[in-house]
Symmetry: C2
Subunit: 299 residues, 2 copies
């Protein structure tokens, strides 16, 4: 038993690569071979946001700042791969900035296909009150592809259906129905076999997820469920996932947990160090979970 577990641990360590490159995304990307990545999922610093950690790219320079990066991303992505860009334009002088939609148009000129736009509905968005607008509770998840023949494994993100919705809705007020909606299954740890016997349905292009806040050691741009969902949807085991703006490493952790190779690029060295150290913990978690799994099926 002990030997078996140790073998398994070695197996994991050897099989799945998780590489972190410190540095500027545009520069590091040039070192990476073309047509090697199956899924790019990232949340770049938004315009004029996160000035303390990143430079805080001004609104009117955002598109020209991002285009060299997206050009490289197009190069390293496999023809069957997918690029998910999490972004939201900010309000400036009471108006929505247009740099995101301008970016879409420019990326198309680079050769990207704008395949889809998912909506991330943030159930717990930032509070506040203003005379002329409500709280902003959604962000864009833009899907770009290199070709129309991209890989998509829809059955991996199916949701339990039917009685779940029915029984729940009975006990909820109308307003609660309005507020709380179908939840995206967080992939890992959740046992799909629990769903067997129930009806499954394909999800839609609206994802309902709360932002991660408070007492976690790392503050992440998006909750782990988000990259998790797209990794399940667009990759299979041993595929290559990339996050050119790694930040606290949410994408890499999700990828590793699900046995995908991954590459993270991050300009802030401190983040790189933190993520590197944390990866060991993830490994251990995985090992323990898997060990428990092996044990359970061994009986």
């Amino acid at each position: 038993m002990i030997w078996k577990d140790l073998d398994f641990r070695d197996y994991i360590k050897m099989e799945i690569k998780t590489d972190i490159f410190p540095g500027d995304a545009a520069e590091v990307l040039r070192e990476i071979d073309e047509n090697t990545v199956d899924l790019i999922i990232t949340s770049p610093p938004y315009a004029d946001q996160r000035k303390d950690t990143y430079g805080g790219v001004p609104v009117n320079e955002y598109v020209e700042w991002f285009l060299p990066i997206s050009k490289e991303l197009l190069r390293v992505l496999k023809p069957t791969g997918t690029f998910i860009l999490n972004i939201k334009e900010r309000v400036l002088n009471g108006e929505r900035s247009t740099y995101v939609i301008e970016l879409i148009l420019e990326m198309k000129k680079q050769g990207w296909l704008w395949t889809e736009e998912f909506i991330w509905h943030k159930k717990n968005c930032y509070p506040g009150k203003w005379p002329n607008r409500f709280r902003d509770s959604w962000e864009r998840l833009l899907q770009f592809n290199k070709s129309k023949q991209f890989n998509m494994y829809q059955e991996n993100v199916m949701l339990p259906m039917g009685d779940w919705a029915k029984t729940r809705l009975k006990n909820l007020s109308e307003t609660d129905k309005v507020r709380d909606n179908s939840r995206v299954g967080s992939g890992f740890g959740k046992n799909i076999s629990n769903w067997i016997g129930r009806e499954l349905a394909y999800p839609t292009n609206v994802l309902h997820l709360a932002t991660e806040c408070s007492n976690k050691n790392h503050s992440a741009a998006f909750p782990e469920e988000l990259p998790c969902w797209f990794i399940k949807l667009f990759t299979k085991e041993n595929d290559m996932v990339m996050d050119p703006f790694m930040g606290s490493g949410t994408t890499l952790f999700a990828a590793r947990k699900m046995r995908r190779n991954s590459i993270g690029i991050e300009i802030v060295e401190d983040y790189c160090d933190v993520v590197k150290r944390s990866l060991d913990t993830v490994e251990l978690c995985l090992f323990e979970e898997e060990a428990a799994y092996v044990f359970a099926t061994d009986k």
Copy 2:
């Protein structure tokens, strides 16, 4: 008592005007005085959709087709008014078309302010399955304004707070929950804030509404709750609401029920006739509701 009710009916009929103009939006709009409309809310024919009724504007001509109309809309809108444009780009050859985001950029050049983008999350979206995309369950509700000082009556659309729903609901009877259902329409007499106390929160920019199950002859673009919500948010009684693509008249019915004047423009004469006839029914409904209300408060 009888006289009183009849007087009231006349009062309603005289006060609120609901005008329908048959014809092409661009042409009819030229006949309308500038700075007279408080809220424009419409769902124009989408590109290449509904060819049978509208002739179907091709995707690559959509922007230039719409711009003359939006120019007139800018003229007739009051400086304090708001324009809500319900639109969604369609998928063409596996890719999202860009005419909507191009339209935003062009309308800004006309002088429009792109103030906000609401998301209409369609809870019961159209079923279907495709190999490379999920069901599309959201649409854009683009908010444009003429100036930064526009009217907004936020307190009219407040919602019960989340925490309230969780804790208080246990103590509420089934009938209490049912009462909540009737909140949508008239806005008559019923004041939610009185009912719930001060446990209300402002909504966000994501609207969760089911699509209308519409078995009607005409293509109902959106459910009545949608114009209803924006009419409450951006106008007060006796204000002027306009829908330059009236269709089945959903906007006009909502406006009339809430005692707003309204103008509808519609190129298909049959639709005009149907809506005109139906307006009498709405009136009667209104009369009865008010009669009951008067009676109740008369005791």
